[in-house]
């Protein structure tokens, strides 16, 4: 592969951890291409390697073997600082919980990445208002995370992930701490954003409700891809 096959290209990706000297093969040879505009769920039982795989394609963890390209750049060739800046500019992250810096307001959390990028204040503020509206959190810009519900916090996290217009949003179990109704609503919102903005989403989940909303479902088992299926109504391939 050359890296130009898709937005994310993973080639024979392997990750072996050492657990007290015992090697643990968390990811065992994954080839995968994720194209722009996809809305992909990675599912599988606990310990199947979902988080590990997401970390590898995000450049948060080093590969034991294989190669990963994101937006045409080979992650393995970047220095720590380059990788840090690359993540800032190209990847939006949503984690399971505690995404937000607790002492910053919703607005400050959302503008954080743009601040790191050195964008001017007016641009940041306009973008925050725009994105808050998109995630249905209009008027909440001055709330501290502690004053938001779990679902609202995740919406703000999605807003932060998308605010600087990255190439892709990676979400590791974004609904794990939410009840099923709220989970459904968050996923519906993400899917709408995928549709209206064309933003690429990859998320992992245990949750059937969440899984059902994906257009592409990748099933992992024992660090490998067991199944890769596309739902009808997905984007043109």
């Amino acid at each position: 592969m050359t890296g130009s096959e898709g937005l994310i290209v993973a080639e024979n990706v392997r990750k072996t951890y050492s657990d007290d000297g015992v090697p643990v093969e968390a990811v065992r040879g994954i080839d995968m291409v994720i194209r722009e505009g996809e809305f992909t769920a990675i599912v599988g039982p606990s310990g199947s390697g979902k988080t590990t795989f997401l970390n590898l394609i995000a450049g948060l963890d080093s590969l034991t073997q294989g190669r990963v390209w994101l937006a045409g750049r080979a992650l393995g060739e970047m220095s720590g600082r380059e990788l840090s800046d690359f993540r800032r500019d190209n990847i939006g992250f949503v984690f399971q919980a505690y995404n937000l810096i607790p002492v910053l307001t919703a607005e400050e959390n959302i503008e954080y990445i743009m601040l790191l990028q050195g964008r001017p204040r007016e641009e940041r503020h306009a973008r925050v208002l725009e994105i808050l509206e998109m995630v249905g959190m209009k008027g909440m810009e001055n709330r501290l995370p502690g004053k938001l519900s779990g679902g609202q916090q995740q919406r703000v996290a999605v807003a932060r992930a998308m605010a600087a217009k990255p190439a892709i949003v990676l979400a590791d179990e974004p609904t794990a701490n939410l009840d099923s109704t709220t989970s459904g609503e968050l996923l519906d919102m993400m899917r709408d954003l995928n549709r209206t903005t064309g933003m690429t989403f990859v998320f992992s989940t245990h949750d059937r409700i969440v899984m059902e909303r994906a257009r592409r479902i990748v099933v992992m088992r024992d660090g490998m891809i067991a199944e890769d299926s596309r739902q009808p109504g997905g984007p043109p391939q």
Partner: protein, 410 residues
């Protein structure tokens, strides 16, 4: 960005208020102790120096070279009248007094004591030393016709004499070596609290002493004087001293005259320094501990910050700024406590009166002294130290690996 980072750091410090207040109090008490100790040491040494210089020594003295090692009475100050005249006109000099000094004995019916017989100019002497203020019986020597003798209180007690009694003074004359004896009436008893004076000095008028020793009218062994700024006495290299050290004379400030006391004070400066090192060490570890604690409970948060693209350098800055904020809060607290404690103790003073140290006696309660430096240098040290020790936890935080941090803390 810098402004935002400062604000983020402050908010992080204020996040766990109780811990911040406890840490800041500990650090602040360290700083306050430093301010107080420094103030007390200054108060103590001022007190001791004052007691020595005010009682008898003066801030400085002029002698013929060699006099201070031999105490030979023939070593007279060269051109004493001229020197006194120059001192009178010198704006840096407040007052000066010439003295005749001779070794002799005083005897009564009961006993005999060896003393330093001092001939003084009562009017000039009263402006330099406190002999005139230390009369516990009788009166100070009078300008004219003062033919009596003042005895140190211990001398009088040993000789079992009181006011109006007569004592025999014996000295050997300077040129001839002839033994000169005179019977003089005790006109006053001197008690300064300083052993050197009370136990071994007796005072007569300068004229009387010169007559007894066979000295000319401007024959003096010592000229003591006080300075408008006592710190001049500590600057031995000032050209002031050279100006009076000519014609075979030597002018010396109190640190040279009271080398012992000077050494004791230098030693107490050194112990202040040791104390400062220990206190600052405690402060440093207090800060490091507080910062580490706050980092450990935020591992996940730092993981997220790094994952979403915060550079390691920025994390280091953030944590160092947090340490700096903690220091600033501590400094505010510590300066206030230090100021209050020092001021409160200074109202009453600490009573060491009567205690003698290297020939100096505490005459008044010791009052800790507040100086501006205590509130500039010590706080600056705390701030600098904080930034420095904050670096260790800061680097630790910057090294957090997001994947690991988030796996461990969930």
């Amino acid at each position: 960005m810098t402004g935002k980072l400062l604000s983020l750091a402050l908010r992080n410090v204020l996040r766990n208020r109780r811990r911040t207040i406890i840490a800041a109090t500990a650090i602040g008490i360290g700083l306050a102790a430093m301010v107080f100790t420094d103030g007390l040491m200054i108060g103590m040494s001022d007190n001791l120096i004052d007691s020595v210089t005010d009682t008898w020594l003066g801030d400085a003295q002029i002698h013929r070279e060699g006099f201070l090692t031999t105490y030979s009475p023939e070593l007279l100050v060269d051109s004493a009248a001229e020197v006194l005249d120059r001192l009178d006109r010198d704006p840096r000099v407040v007052a000066s007094a010439p003295r005749v000094l001779a070794q002799g004995t005083v005897s009564s019916a009961a006993d005999l004591r060896s003393v330093i017989l001092v001939g003084i100019d009562p009017e000039r002497e009263s402006r330099v030393s406190r002999i005139d203020d230390s009369i516990v019986g009788g009166e100070f020597l009078r300008e004219e016709g003062g033919e009596g003798i003042l005895l140190g209180s211990k001398v009088a007690a040993d000789l079992e004499v009181g006011l109006g009694d007569r004592v025999v003074v014996t000295i050997s004359q300077v040129e001839s070596g002839i033994i000169y004896q005179d019977m003089i009436r005790v006109s006053g008893i001197v008690e300064t609290g300083t052993a050197a004076v009370d136990e071994s000095m007796s005072f007569v008028s300068a004229g009387k002493a010169q007559e007894m020793l066979g000295l000319p009218e401007d024959g003096f062994q010592e000229i003591a004087f006080t300075l408008s700024d006592r710190r001049l006495a500590e600057q031995a290299d000032s050209n002031f001293w050279a100006g009076y050290s000519r014609g075979g004379n030597t002018a010396l400030g109190w640190p040279d005259l009271m080398a012992q006391l000077d050494a004791v004070l230098a030693m107490s400066d050194f112990s202040t320094l040791i104390m400062a090192v220990i206190l600052f060490g405690l402060v440093a570890f207090g800060i490091m501990n507080a910062i580490f604690m706050s980092i450990y409970e935020r591992i996940f948060e730092f993981g997220v910050m790094k994952a979403i693209g915060t550079r390691a350098g920025r994390i280091v800055s953030l944590v160092v700024l947090e340490a700096a904020w903690l220091a600033i809060i501590s400094i505010a607290l510590g300066s206030l406590v230090g100021l209050a404690a020092t001021w409160l103790v200074a109202q009453q003073g600490i009573d060491y009166t009567g205690i003698e140290l290297s020939g100096a006696t505490f005459r008044e309660p010791v009052r800790p002294v507040l100086t501006l430096q205590q509130f500039i240098f010590y706080p600056l040290w705390v701030l600098l130290l904080t930034a420095l020790v904050g670096l260790y936890p800061a680097v630790h935080a910057a090294r957090i690996r997001p994947a690991l941090a988030m796996r461990r803390s969930l």
